[in-house]
Amino acid sequence: MADRPQGGAAKAGDNRPKLSLHVPEPKFRPGDAVDFSHIEVPEAGAQPRPDETTDPKDMLDFAHGLIRVLGEDNRAHGPWDPKLDPETLRTMLGHMAMTRAFDERMFRGQRQGKTSFYMKCTGEEATSVSASMALAADDMVFPSYRQQGILIQRGYPMIEMINQIYSNKGDKLKGRQLPIMYSSKEHSFFTISGNLATQTPQAVGWAMASAIKGDSRIAATWVGEGSTAEGDFHSACLFATVYNAPVILNVVNNQWAISSFSGFAGAERSTFAARGLGYGIASLRVDGNDPLACYAAEQWAANRARANAGPTLIEFFSYRAEGHSTSDDPSGYRSAQERDEWPLGDPVMRLKNHLIEIGEWDEDRQEKMDLEAAEFVKKTTKEAEQNGILGHGLHHPFRTMFEDVFEELPWHLQEQADQAIRERETKFPEGLPNGGKGA
């Protein structure tokens, strides 16, 4: 051991070796050749599947391993195979393909100036679509900002998503929220905050309420690995375990939080699933690019919650194939090779190849499905554009800016609303543009 000299001669800095600060650094930067051989990828089917009511103390290995179902041979293996029928698998593939087509079009729309901002989930579709399919339609979800796949899987009308992204006069959220911060109570989808990890302890609170009421619905929340650094995530784990809440805490580890790699959230020392162990929460680490494993793990956790057996923390080990958002350029901080070298492949390709392998799908049908998805998104986009695009005047009426701050408008907001309308009349003395539409 490196003891510090004691006694009167001891002074600051005389420690041997000198104390040094470790600042994490990702393995690869722009231009670097990428080698992911340090990532352990166990054989599909190698992990046992414990009973859903297992004591977390007896399943510590699941926080460090990797649950995988789809193998290199494109077949499903082992006890985690959810044994879904081909029709369900095709539905899953369809939702993932639709999510990808939607992302492509919305990203392009932002580049064309139709809105201010967009975020893709490319490569992470299984973590929302497949997981969501394992829940009941009225289980409450508290998503982060990259789970558009849940809304698509739950049948939320796509035109509502686009109206929200355009902040147009059709936007049910009245143009108040940054694009993609959806909300749909009808689809048991909580309003997305934009502040990170705040939704995780809220999901626990919702689940506690469901338990207080003797309900049968459970809650599930999604958070990025970077945001697990927030204190809210700790609060969520603690409240979940203290009250044995029927909740699933999904951590999507996509390796990158804008330009900060997962090491800045602690990934150099342990897995994110292992965070659950200290709280006595059942914790599963799952191949997040394996749609069948994602489904199976979420189903296991949902069964556990419904059996009053407690919360589950799931780490979906995945990769953010695109930038953080339309405001981000990952070529400035990571090697472009990473996406191609990622050892767990692409979730859409893996499910497609599985369906082909079992004789339930073919390239022609895939091509046709992709084309239809792109056409549907295009057609829906055109419809949404009838309601306007961001900054072109077809927004909600001015007075709506002051509504919903409180249930009723107090005097000070009424005065400010009057002021806003006066300003508008000063700006447009001849009457409002667009014939007053939207004003």
Partner: protein, 353 residues
Amino acid sequence: MSDTATKTAPAAEQGTERRLNMIEAINDALDVTMGRDDNIVIMGEDVGYFGGVFRCTAGLQEKYGKTRVFDTPISECGIIAAAVGMGAYGLRPVPEIQFADYIYPGLDQLISEAARLRYRSAAEYTAPITVRSPFGGGIFGGQTHSQSPEAIFAHVSGLKTVIPATPYDAKGLLISAIEDNDPVIFFEPKRIYNGPFSGYYDKPVEPWKRFDASVVPEGHYKIPLGKARYATEGDELTILAYGTMVHVVEAVCREKGVEADIVDLRTIVPVDIETIEESVKKTGRCLIVHEATRTAGFGAELSALVTERCFYHLEAPVERVTGFDTPYPHSLEWAYFPGPIRIGEALDKILAE
């Protein structure tokens, strides 16, 4: 006289002679609302079996069960966040933060979440939460058990902030807060839990039962949020205050023979502008008193409102008496506290103009 402000506690006139201190009145409000609505749950540090460090939730767990009144981890973030989630489910949570000084770990959940759920979701989701928290000094609590952070919450759009000054008001305002569909911060002036305070710390506390404002009727009644009360009426000046300071200024005015309209605001957001204007236009002089630190305190907002709206009625500059802009000291608590000397000096100044 505006009909928005209540002059006296009606119960005293009705003669329902049940006298409670503020703790008992708060406990009664919680009991009455919980009995009427199964969706009301109480949670917080030490609120369950023990009944709260100030005893405000005493007996409620025994009466309503452990799933409606329960202890929480020492995590203000988690307490507020869980309440937000429960509110989204359809419950009506009443979390307690043991001291207002400890509310800061929950601020993001209050400011960015509870206060904005209705707005950001276009009213799909709301946060019908009442956060109760003892606040203010005068109990030798040092800098971590004495703060008055009301201005922080007043600055946030989407939060209502309520501060009662009597047992009668505490019950009626708390029932209104709990039944309100927006998030409410309910600060309880802990110095006056057991009796009003004259500002003289070396005099014994006079228990609430000697005062009419401690007559608290049984059952359900509400005092609307956003409506002030005239604690006293007079023509010489208007004093705007809330919580503990209502009683201190009342005592100082009595001592100095000053006839003042003492307006107990009761709610600072939304503030009762009608009553403020009515009184200041009548008296032409306005003193604002709060215990919180001075700079950017709620007194600054009140001063601006009075100046903007009553300027041509004013015969003297608006004055503020507040705590100093230091942390709340332990040994020098009474040098910090805006007591009779500071208030008296301000009264002399404003009345001499």
